[in-house]
Amino acid sequence: MRLRTGFVLETGAAWLLALLWLSPLLYAFWAAFHPPELATHFDLFAPLTLSNFAKAWTYAPFPRHFLNTIMLVTMILSAQLVLCTLAGYAFARFEFFGSNVAFGLVLVQLMVMPEVLIVENYRIMARLGLVDTILGIGLPYMASAFGIFLLRQTFKTVPRELEEAARVEGCGFLGVLWRVYVPLARPTYLAYGLVSVSYHWNNFLWPLVVTNSVETRPLTVGLAIFGAPESGVDWAVISAGTIMAVAPLLVAFLLFQRQFMQSFMQAGIK
């Protein structure tokens, strides 16, 4: 009997914590779908409205920000996949001269992410004429140490026999990579892709530093300008805008929960 009450208590506590953890988001949903004057008064039968979303959509250039973020995320991920595949393959299968030192130097980026070096990287972008371009936001992230590391580990687990068989069939070293290694690493690519897209969809500091016009600013930077207290936009509209900005990622997460958590875990463990 004692065990039973213990279990009930624990379940209650776990649920309460879950509710507490969701409450900021639930509250934002409440505010976004109700007229602004009801934002602080709970009333289950309050009239629902979409006008906050309509307002948010016109107050800030959301369509443009969405487009910028989508372009940014796509550009970074495609470049990362190509560059990290090639480099990961080099480290996994070619014991080339200096490869250990080179690998050590690659890993430095795990610790020193581009956002730590904003001052100097801004100067470099200015010299390259890439300030206020989407390419300028993406460039420092394209060669990702994490991607290289992850793919190297995966490629190392591929049996050599498969590679030799492909070579007998007449594949060159790039053919082997494309026909043998890449297909076998599909789960790694998926995990890496999820983490990369989430990271860059949410990234803020470097995009803020390197952009200064609506044409290049991604969602997070747009959202920061729109949500800043001095903008004077009321809270219901800010909630609506915030929900719009996080919706794509949030929906993806709700649909592919398990995959997301596993990918984030791999990303953390490295």
Binding site: L17, L205, V209, G227
Partner: protein
Amino acid sequence: MKHVYGWLLLTPAAILLIGFTHYPAIATLVDSFFSTGTAVRPSRFVGLENYAALLDDPIFWQVFRNNAWFALGTIPTAIVIAMVMALWVNEKLPARALVRMAYFTPTVLPMIAVANLWLFFYTPQIGMFDQVGALFGAPSRNWLGDPNLVLPATMVMVVWKEAGFFMIFYLAALQNLPPELQEAAKIEGASRWYFFRRVTFPLLMPTTLFVLVNATINSFKLVDHLFILTKGGPDNASSLLLYYVYQVAFSFFDTAYAATLTVVLLVLLALLAVVQFLLIEKRVHYR
């Protein structure tokens, strides 16, 4: 031949890595020994002057202290909550998937969006903080305007944001614990608290160390929320090192001093990297 192929495959990534990680890191160090150039006075070598200025800069010491408190306040709390979450979610709880989802959701939200949502909670009188406080008869407070409250107030939000992320590491570790341990404890009649204290907790130690180091690294990079909530204020009471770097470089345009501050940040990250490396070494020896 393998040398040529190896380097060819690596070259595209290497160029970008050198260009945007190694070169800027070294350039930052070099810049910290020069003065900030202006149109009238070009930049010149000043030796350790920037570092002397740094030691005399009360704002530097304040953001440094803030960062230390920020790390001390958020990391242990987030770790304890993460561990409890993982223990719960690892059990046969009703609606377990839903609970796990709720815990993890803050991880996928951008910090900017989170700060937008939380900003309202901090509002005096109508915000959730004050409304909950009022239930217990606490007076209304200006959470983000009071230098004594602002740092702890932002820490609550960061704990909320991070705990679910740490949870998944504990969850993975718990699922790898041999089930025989639990059975043996049951036969022995050990209480759950005893079992946790003497078996589970020690076995989770490698995970805790791992999370600890990663959380410490994160605590130097988490500054996005400041742009929305406080702009580092009032009187730098909530500012953190990286945010100060941003301000010095892009609001005060003192790039040389910003470089000097960045060097401090890089040294701290390097020290943490050494700690992490030693921990990994140690774990290898265990096996």
